[in-house]
Symmetry: C6
Subunit: 261 residues, 6 copies
Amino acid sequence: MVRDIDWDKAAKRTVGFSGADLENMLNEAAIQAARKNKTEIEFSDIEEAATKVKLGPEKKRLQTDLDRKMTAYHEAGHAIVTYALPNMDPVHRISIVSRGMALGFTLIPPQRDRIHETKTHLLEQITSMMGGRAAEALIFSEMTSGAANDIDKATMLAKNMVVEYGMSDLGPINFGPTVDTTEWGGRYMMDSKISPDMQSKIDSEVKKIIDKSYQKATSILSKMKDKLDRVAEELIKKETLEGEEFEKIVGTKPALAKINS
Amino acid sequence: MVRDIDWDKAAKRTVGFSGADLENMLNEAAIQAARKNKTEIEFSDIEEAATKVKLGPEKKRLQTDLDRKMTAYHEAGHAIVTYALPNMDPVHRISIVSRGMALGFTLIPPQRDRIHETKTHLLEQITSMMGGRAAEALIFSEMTSGAANDIDKATMLAKNMVVEYGMSDLGPINFGPTVDTTEWGGRYMMDSKISPDMQSKIDSEVKKIIDKSYQKATSILSKMKDKLDRVAEELIKKETLEGEEFEKIVGTKPALAKINS
Amino acid sequence: MVRDIDWDKAAKRTVGFSGADLENMLNEAAIQAARKNKTEIEFSDIEEAATKVKLGPEKKRLQTDLDRKMTAYHEAGHAIVTYALPNMDPVHRISIVSRGMALGFTLIPPQRDRIHETKTHLLEQITSMMGGRAAEALIFSEMTSGAANDIDKATMLAKNMVVEYGMSDLGPINFGPTVDTTEWGGRYMMDSKISPDMQSKIDSEVKKIIDKSYQKATSILSKMKDKLDRVAEELIKKETLEGEEFEKIVGTKPALAKINS
Amino acid sequence: MVRDIDWDKAAKRTVGFSGADLENMLNEAAIQAARKNKTEIEFSDIEEAATKVKLGPEKKRLQTDLDRKMTAYHEAGHAIVTYALPNMDPVHRISIVSRGMALGFTLIPPQRDRIHETKTHLLEQITSMMGGRAAEALIFSEMTSGAANDIDKATMLAKNMVVEYGMSDLGPINFGPTVDTTEWGGRYMMDSKISPDMQSKIDSEVKKIIDKSYQKATSILSKMKDKLDRVAEELIKKETLEGEEFEKIVGTKPALAKINS
Amino acid sequence: MVRDIDWDKAAKRTVGFSGADLENMLNEAAIQAARKNKTEIEFSDIEEAATKVKLGPEKKRLQTDLDRKMTAYHEAGHAIVTYALPNMDPVHRISIVSRGMALGFTLIPPQRDRIHETKTHLLEQITSMMGGRAAEALIFSEMTSGAANDIDKATMLAKNMVVEYGMSDLGPINFGPTVDTTEWGGRYMMDSKISPDMQSKIDSEVKKIIDKSYQKATSILSKMKDKLDRVAEELIKKETLEGEEFEKIVGTKPALAKINS
Amino acid sequence: MVRDIDWDKAAKRTVGFSGADLENMLNEAAIQAARKNKTEIEFSDIEEAATKVKLGPEKKRLQTDLDRKMTAYHEAGHAIVTYALPNMDPVHRISIVSRGMALGFTLIPPQRDRIHETKTHLLEQITSMMGGRAAEALIFSEMTSGAANDIDKATMLAKNMVVEYGMSDLGPINFGPTVDTTEWGGRYMMDSKISPDMQSKIDSEVKKIIDKSYQKATSILSKMKDKLDRVAEELIKKETLEGEEFEKIVGTKPALAKINS
């Protein structure tokens, strides 16, 4: 039996979930409630189930205090940068509990479907992804291989901006491979040949996006170092911070900027 | 039973349709008429059925006013630029109703088979495709990933002009892969080897076409900003504008320029 | 029953036909004669059958006067340039009747087997192929995608001249892939590796051949514009011109220059 | 029967072993104990079994004194450089007994799971791998092909640092091929196209890492040449040195530096 | 029955023939003798049979006098250049009778197995191959595609000299793909990676060999133009010249130079 | 029955033989002994059998005196250069008897397993391989294609030195494709991407090694021309020289230099 669930909140939490994700999540929530001998599924069961479905089960790993500290600053870095960017959705949850391959995670579920994906929001997403590495460098003057996944995703977005979305100084031109069907029939398939000169310009544009985003993330964290420290400290203490706890430290995130709604 | 259909208009609306498209369209029109308990198929059923066959069924998505506004300007951009170009066919319909992957669409069915595809008309098609992105930039100083499909198609046309149609400064030479049978027998198959130098020139020619077309689209929209605003406003109000409604705002499109018959 | 056929003329008309082509042609000629209730096959049946076997059946397409005019000038361009080049065979037939993918055609069957294919004749063939595009540009200041096939074939010939026949400034050297068996046994198979530098030189040589040929075609048509106009006008009127009708307008083509026998 | 095993020590020795490795190791240890008519497995059986599972069985090869001397200095080079680097785990065992393809080996098992892999530790690993070649050059002014495996692994790590971990002057950008699934669904697959310019920068960064590491290894060995000589001499005498024996010569390795814990 | 055959001469004529070639040749000779109602095979039957086995049967093609003249000069060009080079074997037969794809041929069977293939002889072979094109250019200021096969083979030899035999200014180094087994076991397989710089040098060396050889062929023919004319005239008259007839015109070829024995 | 065999000598002669090689060799030796009606296998049977297993059976080819002279100097070149290099094993046998594809051979079996393959020894191997071509050039001012195999093997070794063993000025870095499993688990597979710049440096390093080795071979032969002549003369007389006969002419080779033992 399911009762007292804030379904609006649950719906928002699961934007982007597939039908299979939702089914898995509800099953998982029921199992967890049953394990705790509860007769009703509560929102906390939903929350935990949603996380498990997306990131895998918790994984205990032997860690030193310093390990935990580094993870805490990495995740806090993501969270603080995300907080400071006007078009990013609010942080939903931060955790330094290991799940799957990840040492921690920062959840930023979209508040609703993005109808238009804008250049501004794409740049902020990349900057947010840079927040972890930027914090490592700022606090420890060190880099970890744990940022590789952030770097990979950020590079992918930056490439898409340049190669497919026409959002760089190279203009509204497509440099990717193409399979397409036109509105009035006719089918195109063409492997994109690009000269070394043009590829070099593409590489430079991608690098420029990454470099600027990293600098912005670093600059945000430098200015908000106090809050970064406090979030990291709280994370080390509690392991997981809900969005509300995070906002108690950093302040409430203002409503999304209009243009990117 | 089918009555009172303006078959000339229907034929024009379906230029470029395959036999299967036509069959699907007629079935769809019959189903729609039946749903509305009509005993006869009317032209509006044909119209809706033709659109559904080509673009997929309507799709309700939760959108903000700003989302709708951005879509409206994007489609209005296509429509206004198309209107302003002397060799483009007239706009048949504009809509901000989501269908399939598209947030909106602007229909520009050819008035009849193009016997000759001219350089002038190809350049105008590319400029028309640039109209959406140009409107985004002009009105919102923003870019959306929704223009990616326009950019992809425009790049494809520009490449064909340079690589296969010999319509660039590189002259009447073919740079693509070739499979051909000569008039008097004999069969050629040859994978085109091109030096980095020549590929670089090809890339520049393609980019030049895209850049000029984008500038032209921007220039048209700047000059016709009043009409752009009014079309967008009407679209936000009515969601779909038929060609006649569009022309009430912008004026009747003159007959096609002679050369491109 | 076949009677009164000028077999010499028929043989000349079918130089380059395969055995299967000839069989198809004779069957087709018999069918056509039967359709017209003739008891004998005449040369006109052979002529039509030969064209159908090589280019496909006639195809009615809705065209404007301007469409027909553009096609007429394109084909007249091929015919006039061919006429003006001393080593090209005489024009056999010109037509603006659509067949298969083609809007028109100009038939230039070889008068007999070319024993030696010379550099001079290859250059004239390329120039002849450029005649259609050159006419479009000269008369309409426009280019059509209909010239793509001419451009493709001309590029192929130019490449062969440079890469396999050693007929460019790069000298008697082969740049293509090679499979060969020597006179005294021994078998070579080698995929040709070419540096970007050398490929760039090859590209330039190919482009030089195309550019010069296009300029020559343009120059011929400029000088013979009167005849170009009269052939195009006749074509618009009659749709198809036999070689004799064409030569009535432009004059009889002199015998082939000696060297290219 | 298993008795008197220091299981803590055994666990540390087998960090990074798979389940199959552990099973093979225990079987092997039991077999060895049985061969020696022991009724109980001792730690020395575990030790030998662990080595055999990872490196293969001992292999007698006819060697000259000089062969043994070169191997001894190569392995001593790895051990000494490892000892001198503050973030490397302590040397567990050094041996000039041939196993599989290897003439000798230096075991440096991680003391526990590395939660964070840092840039500092990666650079030290590469420097440690350079220790063998550096010793060859320093002592014999000679190079052997036996260092090829060290060089291969070191290059791989250096490439990962530059291409995937964003740890070079090129910044936090990914240059490798990518298959990824985002947190919120959506799947990317993209073969990384890189211009010759950018690839050249990548190559330089990789080379810079290798060159600096090799210089550091050489510099360490030059400064600690006395200890290098003594370790090599002991190795020639005893063939295998346990970590304790090694540390008797070079001194106890200080606890790992904090940052890389 | 085979009688009165000069078997020494026959053996020399068939150096390089495979067992199957020899069998085919003898069968063919027997058939020809039988057709002519001879009871014995004579040397002329052997000669004709050997040619047929290697080059295919005679092929009658309709040719003009000029066609025959061009072929005659092409073959005479090969023969004269071959005659003038001290290390080439003597010309055995020249013919302008079409066989297979060839319009004519010049037979230069090796007098015996070449034990050592020298740089000098390879260069002379290439020069001999250039003789046909050089004669076309010298006499007709024209080039034919018939030289394509000569050009292909000459390029192949020149490439081998540079890439495999180490006979260019690039020195004794191999640039080709390699599969090899060493004398003492061990197997190598390596696809040769070559930089554009080095490939460019290879291309230049190959071109240099071709260019020099072509110049030498041209220079020889210029100096021996009288003999070239007389051989061509005789060929036009007799269609085929035996080695003895050729040497009556040009003089007896001196014995092979010593070094290339 | 096998008797009176110097098994030490036989073992030395067959270093590097596989089990199958050894079995083939013993069978072959037995067959040869039987053919000669010997009841016992003697060392000479072993020697001949070992050569046949590795190089194929003797092959009689018609040769001129000059052919034999060129082969003799080529093999003598290998032998003399090998003799002059301090780290090369002694020459075991030189022959100008044709076997398989080879016109002659120089056997240099390793005296025992090379435990360490050093840079010095690799360079000497390459120099030894250059000895044949160097002799051709020195004595005949000519080059033969027979050196192609030497050149191929020498290039391969030089590439390995640069690309895998880190023995060039490019330092201890790997440029080859890599498949590897680390000591502690984890598997790498990566196709090596290399920029044209770096590949050009690799090509230069390989060429530098080859060029220097060739110069050294030439310099050795120039200084030892008397001995070269005498060895070649003896070879022409006897066809095969055993190591002892060779050393009678050139002197006994000093023991291997210490470092490369």
